[in-house]
Symmetry: C2
Subunit: 327 residues, 2 copies
């Protein structure tokens, strides 16, 4: 195990869950209450470079060309502490991150962020982790990062311990021409972090135990639909699973919501388009942006309809993306 003398750079793509992760069974280890399934996206990613240096007296974190204050750097420093512990090292690091995902707006910037950080920092410190180990490590940074190690459709097996909770590729080299169209209705920081939100849902929603059972069933069904290339069944399961996740926010105490006026507008539009024969299905995470699943052949039609209501620069067409790689 040798510490790298040059910086190591990794790129990880974000992912959007079709079967959602919404709640932890173990806060510290970030073990989820349910297994989940996502699609890695090509168009939103994070590049992170790491170099451990003997002369440093603390970690220096640069994020989108800004040096983070100790408070803002805390979560990343904690993560580096884990990596140092694994490597039996006490060296500090320089971390340089460029995020090509809007931060904290429900587009899972922490997924690509912690996946890239896991890959770059572990290699920089001299650990030689395989993908399963990388997935477990990324999980400690952010639950959804667990899945960003792989491309295409990815399943995060919830497991029951640090060792048994990691992602596996479900279909990594995706030959199915489908897209995810993101409508960026609001790039502002969200009110309720997903971490805090899910904690409140687990603790107070009377629907939480039904949610856990539901996800188990949905996961089975969506895997069959994906295998069968049954777009409508996949889309319907994904949309309903997402809305049942958002029901956990409304039904929590205190009640809260990630919807805003434009989210409703997109959702209504998707319902209308579908009634009119255009196969498309939405999903939403812990932020107001809406992501729409659509087959490639129908993507132009969908975008044209969206452009009637939203500025073109708010509409991003993403295709399936690859797993982690070193640059």
């Amino acid at each position: 195990m040798t510490i790298s003398k040059t910086k190591i750079t990794a790129r990880a793509h974000t992912n959007i869950a079709l079967i959602k992760y919404w709640g932890k069974a173990n806060q510290k280890l970030k073990l989820p209450t349910t297994s989940s399934l996502s699609l890695t996206l090509n168009d939103f990613y994070t590049d992170t470079s790491v170099l451990f240096k003997p002369e440093l007296t603390e970690d220096k974190i640069s994020f989108n060309n800004e040096i983070l204050s100790p408070i803002k750097a805390k979560r990343i420093v904690h993560f580096l502490d884990l990596v140092r512990k694994m490597a039996n090292s006490n060296l500090y690091a320089e971390v340089y991150t460029i995020n090509h995902v809007p931060t904290s707006a429900g587009l899972a910037s922490s997924a690509s962020g912690f996946a890239a950080l896991a890959a770059a920092s572990s290699k920089a410190i001299g650990l030689d982790l395989n993908k399963k180990e990388l997935s477990r490590l990324a999980r400690r940074g952010s639950g959804s990062a667990t899945r960003s190690i792989y491309g295409g459709f990815v399943e995060w097996k919830k497991g029951f311990s640090d060792k048994s909770s990691y992602a596996v590729p479900f279909e990594e080299q995706l030959t199915w021409p489908i897209n995810m169209v993101a409508v960026m209705v609001n790039k502002s920081e969200k009110q309720m972090s997903s971490s805090k939100g899910m904690q409140i849902s687990v603790a107070t929603s009377p629907y939480y135990s039904a949610w856990k059972k539901l996800c188990k069933k949905d996961l089975k069904k969506i895997k069959v639909a994906i295998k069968n290339r049954d777009f409508d069944t996949m889309g319907q399961i994904a949309e309903e699973n997402a809305m049942r996740m958002h029901s956990l926010t409304l039904s929590a105490s205190p009640d809260y919501s990630y919807f805003d006026a434009d989210s409703l507008k997109v959702m209504n539009l998707v319902h209308t388009l579908r009634k009119n024969g255009l196969a498309c299905y939405f999903t939403m995470d812990a932020g107001p942006n809406v992501k729409i699943l659509v087959e490639q052949k129908n993507t132009d039609k969908l975008v044209t309809e969206l452009q009637k209501q939203f500025a073109s620069d708010k509409i991003v067409v993403a295709s399936s993306g690859p797993g982690i790689k070193y640059l």
Copy 2:
């Protein structure tokens, strides 16, 4: 039993449920899956006059000064058929209704409507029903009408049969100075009728069985809070119960919602005001309007805040209203 020779006019007020009714155990008899609790409002009501006349060859229904077409009159004619059956009569009626509630906008116009129709038509045909019987009869027209027979706080005991499902006054002569401020964000007809909506929720929401258990608990708790004049506990239970009802729409298959952009705006405002120390709590039904519970002493403050975001004519302050009466 004598048929009245002059028209009989009854006035019934609408009611807003604090513990919601969302689902039928029996479609035909309109038996609910859960008991519910409401507040009758002074400011929204229906006046209905009925006269049964031997010379008529069909029912003539006038609604807000418009003669209804057979299709639009169908639900009312069905109700009159029930009344005729009870009275062993085959006479047709003239019905004249003026509604002081916006129709089908989540302000329970059918509650006051069928309560007034039950009272006026039963008396006009010569039946002498007591309030319990009136409540049962009104239920056959519209579930929420069951409660509009009484004033103040009213409990609808779900029962298990036509005979056992009716409302009882919980606190009829209300001495507690509280108001319900309705924000009429949209007076247009709603997309999904409450009747169809609840049917889909019962049949498809994975959260429905948890909802039924929850309502039983919430009902117990809110009755204690009302007895104790504990406004915050009452408001919190009501707001959470409403959002847990709306979770049943989001979690249904197909997913649907009664929220619109302005509903979210009002809900966010209420949350913000509460954070800033103003005790107020919202509730919502099968339409986009939002109703806010507030103590009388805080009502002016609330209205002032609402007026910063909504036109004054969209804000209606309602106090507790009386039960059914003959004019």
